[in-house]
Amino acid sequence: MAALEINGLRKAFGGVIALGGVDLSIPDDRITGVVGPNGSGKTTLFNVITGVYPPTGGSITWHGEDISGRAPHQIARKGLVRTFQQAMSFPGLPVKENVQIALERGGRQLRGGEPRWHSPEELLDFVGLGGRGNDDAGSMPFGNLRRLGVAVALAANPVLLLLDEPAAGLSDGEASMLADLIIKLPGMGIGVCLIDHHMTFMTALCQRLIVLDFGTKIADGTTQSVLTDPKVMEVYLGGEL
């Protein structure tokens, strides 16, 4: 059984069905990709997993414990930490304090274990923001803001990190630098689940891809097999009439 087991997950907003019974299992020791066209329910999936919205039906099990309907902060404290599609930070605070807040919060989850990063500076160096600690987070360029978002999430001590379109709006150079960072995480004991549209970025990072369309899973397997799947081709390129 994988770390995160999702069974028959449904989420409806009034009459709109954003997730129509999704079954997924996401391990916490490698990088798993979630792709799909706009409106296919990828971000809703993250929002329901992390407790932003309660599910309409189905179950979410994290390391054998049912977490569906829990508050976002409770889920985050169990090691399921997410980033946001809009690059988010605490804009009025210095970069160092952004990370420090999350480190202090994440540190309380350690229960005697050794922290991965002992200081905000160490973590900022890791994400490539070394020396930027005293800048105001709100005044940083977009690429750095993305890195800061990842740094804040990492500081919260995740077991599985859910990244919602981390490469959106980045140049190719910035995206490949981010990929170099993400690929190191499983080796450090942090699983990654990644949403993105940027296919070169995804194929470079993910051994496994899950494809969503209209709130249902249409493919799940190794990256190569998914990309040659006729159903996936139909969704992305349009099928024959």
Partner: protein
Amino acid sequence: MTMEFLNLKMPMVRGGSHAKAGTDPHSPDRRIEQIVFAVALIVLVAALPSLNIGYRFLSIAITTGYTAIALYGLGLQFGQAGIMSVGHAAMLGIGAYTAAMLSNHLGIGFWAALPASIVLAAIAGGLVGLPSLRVSGQHYIIITFCFCALLVICLTNGGSFTGAATGLDVGSIPRVLGINFDKLFNYYYLVLGALAITLATTYAIMNSSYGRTLRAIRENEQLARAIGINVDMHKIGVFMASGAFAGLAGILQVYYLRHISPTLYGAFPSLYLALMVMLGGGRLLYGPLIGAIIVNFLPEVMDLNPVDSRIAYGVALLIVILLLPGGVSSGLLAIYRWVGGLLVRRGSKAGS
């Protein structure tokens, strides 16, 4: 320990130009200048009564002192956690009326009523904070305003229990170690002591991980939740802390005035508290104190009548909102750092 306490580190001001290398508040040179500043301030304020300043000035100083204590609570709530209230006088009222009613109905004096005032105001603060978990921004501000109006109605219609519109009287504070608090000088030092405790507590909160958590909530609630911060609990916590400071201010007010009535805790006093915090700035340690000093001493210094002074406050508030969103305190800090920077550059030029 004293070193830590006197290190008056300020949180960042939005858009502040000081977020550059060399202005790290932990650097030793900055720490020394902060200690010098704090010591100078303490000596000056403690020496005031001996400068033969007159009772009028001293009584304004006392009013400023207890108002500042209440403002520190509002400063935590508004400056750190980002939640404004325009009904904060109601919290002062709970503290003041708790003390007055304990004295009138049960004969309980100042020292025993002190913890009761603080605790009850803290509980009231937490209760008024509850709606903030559902509504935010201006909608919540309206709720605080309603609570304040509701309290005045209850106090006015409370019959002999609350003293109705006439209010309640209290006696004097029993002597401790032979100190007679009926003397204005001694009351001044009592308020000053309470203010020093308030400042130290605020400083400790601002520089603790709790203070950082509050600022995280202010800056981005959604992200705060996503990294595991229990936003709702911390909001109620800051409302309770804010209420506790107001309770302390309330009991100091009632034993200073000796008589209180509901109008002291209505809409206008509440708006004045909000005004003072915004004027002084809620994010920096000295902001609320500066706000209280400006608003209480301005009419005296400029010899304004009550109507003119209200106009002056309105104009001052507009100027501050437009030009100094961080309040006068952040403006002073920016000027101070700018002058400091100029002197350093001069000095290095002269040296080379």
